[in-house]
């Protein structure tokens, strides 16, 4: 598998705060890569730096071998990276259909666009029933579906997903992650998935990074990470049985 996306030593300032401090990560074609971390770890900043909404202070972002560091976000989007932002950011007063069609704004292949629209509505049948309704009337879960569908309508080669599970019920989360996996497998879209909710993100991923206060502290294949004691305890909330299980205060993460 070849690399489609690579960030090297990226440092990004958020105002006067350095939100990410020298991040390097690679995403292989056709894979799902997740970046896990708690609030304020810098997850969103990574995605914004890749998609061009923030310009890095240092470092380089490459997409399919091309340097895309600090290009305008619309240029990067047209190059083939779709960013589905945190908090959905749907166009509130536009209809569901117009929202989806805005994803396809830059595409000329009308027949393909129509087919992709059908695909999205097939994945999320609830959107079909609200097709002419303004997006603001949708529930949070439906808006998340809309944001995902809209990103897919760009026919990207890489999708950047920022916390698709945010504020959703467990049932909806699993439904949405199934579709994410389907888009990945059936449509061959590479995913870079940023999540606080490691217990849903990690099982869906092939490879994972753990981010803490702007640094990558751990990385590995899914199965390796799933077995790591630190990940199990701090991110998945699975506690190892032990005779002195209440000594959590003494527990140290391996990276500190």
């Amino acid at each position: 598998m070849t690399e489609v996306l690579r960030a090297s030593n990226v440092e990004t300032m958020y105002g006067r705060v350095m939100a990410i401090r020298g991040i390097s990560l690679t995403v292989k074609e056709g894979s799902v890569v997740t970046v896990m971390g708690s609030n304020g770890a810098g997850k969103t900043t990574i995605l914004k730096t890749i998609s061009g909404a923030l310009d890095p202070f240092k470092g380089q972002v490459e997409f399919e071998g091309r340097d895309i560091t600090a290009l305008d976000p619309d240029v990067i989007a047209r190059a083939g990276i779709a960013h589905s932002p945190e908090g959905r950011e749907v166009f509130s007063l536009l209809s569901v259909k117009d929202n989806l069609m805005m994803g396809a704004y830059c595409r000329k292949d009308r027949d393909e666009v129509a087919r992709d629209l059908e695909k999205v509505l097939g994945w999320f049948p609830v959107l079909r029933t609200f097709l002419e309704k303004q997006a603001i009337y949708l529930s949070g879960g439906q808006q998340q579906m809309l944001a995902l569908g809209r990103a897919f309508m760009q026919r990207p080669r890489v999708m950047l997903l920022d916390e698709p599970s945010l504020g959703l019920s467990p049932l909806l989360i699993s439904e949405i992650f199934q579709i994410i996996k389907r888009i990945n497998v059936e449509e061959g879209v590479t995913m870079l998935l940023v999540e606080q909710n490691a217990s849903v993100a990690l099982p869906a991923a092939d490879f994972g990074y753990v981010l803490e206060t702007g640094r990558i502290v751990m990385e590995g294949e899914r199965d390796v990470l799933m077995k790591s004691a630190d990940i199990r305890e701090f991110y998945l909330g699975i506690k190892a049985e032990s005779a002195r299980g209440d000594r959590r205060w003494k527990a140290r993460k391996t990276w500190r």
Binding site: A53, P73, D74, F91, L93, Y105, C106
Partner: protein
């Protein structure tokens, strides 16, 4: 107070209507820019003045046929509006809103001065595309007024259809609702924003070409922009149908107000704005949902 006959009232109504239409054309330009970028272009009245002067240059000074001169004027205004955004306003992205206010105020002053230097500070007459009057029973309307009503109706409906059905129109709405998300979709936000300024300058130019024959062309004619501003506020700043309704309301009541209260001539528009702000501060047709910032 003087009693008005029905015929007089109708006459005033029609005059007010055509005046209101001109206000609307300016207000549409204001609201377009405001909706897309949350910037208020205080130079919109001066854009109109510039349109009138450029039309005067082409049609009167250079002797072009009217429609050719008018067309070229609108092309010039489009390029001018595009340039103002691309070269000046865009540099202020990310600055506090009032910097753009001050900038456009200054631009208005500068445009008045430059127009005066180029064309002079006097009053100049611009021919109307149509002459004569339309007589409807006791009511006499100049064809120029009829034209301004028709043009406004055509422009407003064309704009409605554009925003409803055209891909670019929907994208302009999208970027006004959520600029960052529009960027993420690959929508060329910068180009579209400049185009919005171009459209708004073109509407200013149309208003200038229509108003010029009625009031004479002068560097002071841009002050009518303040009435358009009042109309846009009455309608709920940010709504195009609202701006049209607000401007028509102001245009139609103004001549009646001036006749009834001659001592208060000229402030009717602002009184209406004041009343609307007191009773319904969001304007007559405000968008129900506040924009997420």
């Amino acid at each position: 107070m003087t009693a008005l006959s029905f015929a007089d009232a109708m006459q005033l109504f029609v005059v007010g209507l055509s005046q209101g239409c001109l206000y609307s054309l300016i207000a549409i330009g204001l609201v377009l820019v405001y909706k897309a970028t949350e910037q208020v272009n205080f130079a919109q009245g001066e854009f109109m003045m510039l349109g009138a002067f450029v039309g005067y240059q082409f049609i009167v000074l250079m002797g072009m046929p009217y429609w050719l001169g008018a067309m070229l004027t609108l092309v010039f205004m489009g390029a001018f509006g595009y340039g103002v955004e691309a070269l000046v306003v865009r540099r202020l992205t990310g600055q506090p809103v009032f910097t753009v206010f001050i900038l456009t105020l200054a631009l208005g002053i500068a445009l008045r001065a430059v127009a005066g230097i180029i064309w002079g500070f006097g009053n100049y007459s611009l021919p109307a595309p149509v002459d004569g009057n339309l007589t409807l029973g006791p009511v006499i309307i100049s064809w120029a007024s009829v034209l301004s009503i028709v043009v406004t109706a055509v422009v407003a409906s064309a704009l409605y259809l554009f925003f409803r059905y055209a891909r670019q129109g929907v994208a302009m709405q999208a970027l006004s609702l959520n600029q960052l998300a529009a960027f993420y979709m690959g929508i060329p936000v910068k180009r579209l924003t400049s185009s919005i300024w171009a459209m708004s300058a073109i509407f200013g130019g149309i208003a200038g070409l229509l108003l010029g024959p009625m009031t004479l062309v002068s560097t002071q004619m841009g002050f009518i922009g303040f009435k358009a501003f009042a109309g846009a506020i009455v309608g709920g700043f940010g709504s195009i149908p609202g701006a049209v309704i607000g401007c028509l309301l102001i245009g139609v009541t103004e001549p009646f107000f001036d006749i009834m209260f001659p001592t208060l001539k000229g402030i009717g528009a602002y009184l209406i704005m004041f009343l609307v702000l007191l009773i319904r501060p969001q304007g007559l047709l405000a968008q129900i949902y506040a924009k997420k910032v």
